[in-house]
């Protein structure tokens, strides 16, 4: 599922920003952009002060899946983990972004009559939130199982559409189930072996979800993350090793890949 992007980067205004737990949510007015497909992403850079951080970084734009999209508005969710996200987290209403996108392939709907289980967490929330809203609009039954470090991060679960029931796990037990998101996913699959899984999250979590689905023979689509320079297939930098040899480019072949294309989710 792909919506093609207008050619080139465009200048858009930030219309608002707020903190949700440990995360920052940005809203941008993308008046000239098309409606993206859940799972697609954009390349973002600030118009001012890009390159003014630690070690004169960031230099390259940053790839971010959108969190929500409606009527010329886009939203993104991010966590300050490095010079690029730090600069983006500092944006406020009235600041400007360079935006290219939507890019890549998004999620494909489950086979008729099958339920969707959205599994993941952490900074993997955005594509799952966009997909939860789309599935609710389509009338597809769905639920979410979400894992986080702690209660502060688990507030990110609020960003999912209210129509999508969710259960939460935290590493430290400060909210929801004390344990891993795969515990919650196992319980869901015990109750519905016919479901299809859609996953996004930190690499180790995503690999655990992939391995669980593979062991149970459950179809899964994984939204991958990779460092990338361009986002549109030019640099060949964002590859992931695929089953049977060779590499796929996360930006143009993904970021959503069928889980059975991978032997493992890379953890570097």
């Amino acid at each position: 599922m792909r919506t093609q992007a207008p050619f080139g980067r465009r200048r858009v205004a930030i219309t608002g920003a707020e903190d949700v737990g440990a995360y920052r949510v940005l809203h941008a007015a993308d008046l000239d952009g098309p409606v993206p497909q859940p799972g697609q992403f954009y390349m973002l850079a600030t118009v001012l002060g890009w390159g003014a951080g630690q070690d004169d970084r960031p230099f390259l734009p940053r790839a971010l899946s959108f969190l929500g999209a409606a009527e010329g508005q886009l939203s993104f969710m991010l966590e300050d983990v490095g010079p690029g996200t730090r600069r983006l987290c500092a944006l406020a209403a009235g600041d400007e972004l360079w935006l290219t996108g939507p890019l890549g392939n998004g999620f494909a709907a489950p086979a008729h009559g099958r339920r969707a289980i959205l599994a993941g967490g952490g900074v993997g929330i955005p594509p799952l939130a966009a997909w939860a809203a789309a599935l609710a609009d389509l009338g597809v039954a769905a639920c979410a199982v979400l894992g986080f470090r702690d209660a502060e991060h688990a507030r990110g679960a609020q960003l999912l559409d209210a129509r999508c029931p969710r259960t939460v796990a935290t590493d430290d037990g400060s909210a929801g189930h004390h344990g891993l998101v795969t515990d919650l996913l196992s319980a869901q699959l015990d109750g519905d072996a016919e479901a299809e899984v859609y996953a996004c999250g930190p690499p180790r979590m995503l690999e655990a979800v992939r391995a669980l689905c593979a062991a149970r023979g459950v179809p899964a689509q994984l939204a991958l993350e990779a460092g990338m320079a361009c986002g549109f297939g030019a640099c060949f930098g964002c590859v992931v090793a695929v089953r049977g040899g060779g590499y796929a480019r996360v930006c143009v072949d993904g970021p959503v890949l069928d889980a059975d294309r991978l032997d493992a989710v890379p953890v570097h």
Binding site: R2, Q4, A5, P6, F7, G8, R9, A45, G51, D55, D56, R57, P58, F59, L60, P61, W98, T100, L103, A226, G227, M228, A229, C230, G231, F232, G233, A234, C235, F236, G237, C238, V239, V240, A241, G245, G246, Y247, R249, V252, P266, H268
Partner: protein
Amino acid sequence: MIDFCGIALAHPIVNGSGTFDAIAARQAFGDALLADFPFSAFVSKTITLSPREGNPPPRLWEAQAGMINSIGLPNRGLRGYLEHDLPQLAALGVPLITNVMGSTAAEVAALVEGVDERPEIAAIELNVSCPNVATGLDIGADPASLGALVRAVRPLTRKVLIVKLTPNSADVAAVALAAEFEGADALSLINTLRAGALAPGSEAPWLGGVTGGLSGPAIRSVALAQVGAVARRVALPIVGMGGVASGSHARDLLSVGATLVALGTESFRDPAAGSRIARELKSLQIAGSGSTTLNEAEAQVEVDTNCTDSR
């Protein structure tokens, strides 16, 4: 129009080899890419005789004012390129330059002969940043090795033959002179500077290929010096590149002797950078020329770029 070795180009901005995959870009942007194609000629990624998967990831490192890549030349191989890629590239509507690399003169000869048969291709660019299997040194770092390679392949094609020089040599002008002496039609430089990075909090290399090539604004001043050094010694047209991100950077390379300017890393940050920089350059040339019309300005910058047929 610009005349580059007999090839008519709409403006002086092209892409550096391996920095723009027009087939993938068309998938991402659709036909809007063709309507506003950013380059006046399209340079392919490096094509090798056999297919290559490229290096294991990680392949990228963000550096200060630039990036290091260790991609490893993934491509379908000559046959896959000619059968699969070339028909799609021919739809771009700009002259095509095919970049090839081999580790022996026989391999390069087979590549040049294969490309020579295809009328869609206007020019061949030799990537000589490849170790000589006998000496282990980069062919392009050694005037004698490079001269021998050009001597071997020059008789195999009447297409425009461009030699892409590596900056990782002791004397780039000496290598350029060897290419000129053996009949190259044009030169392109600079390729990336060899560079490395350590994984954060570790003493191990970050890149799957261990070392890579540094590009971006960090190397712009190196490019300016090397293009100037080559232009002073060699009469061939030069495709200058290295860290160009604006029309004024392009103008600087033209002013030290380049005929065309190639973009690489800036296209990653701005997919339509080629069109923007061509526009900025034209504005600067009009402002600097004192002339009042576009045509006059164009005429003024159209310096003698015709190649002498040195075959």
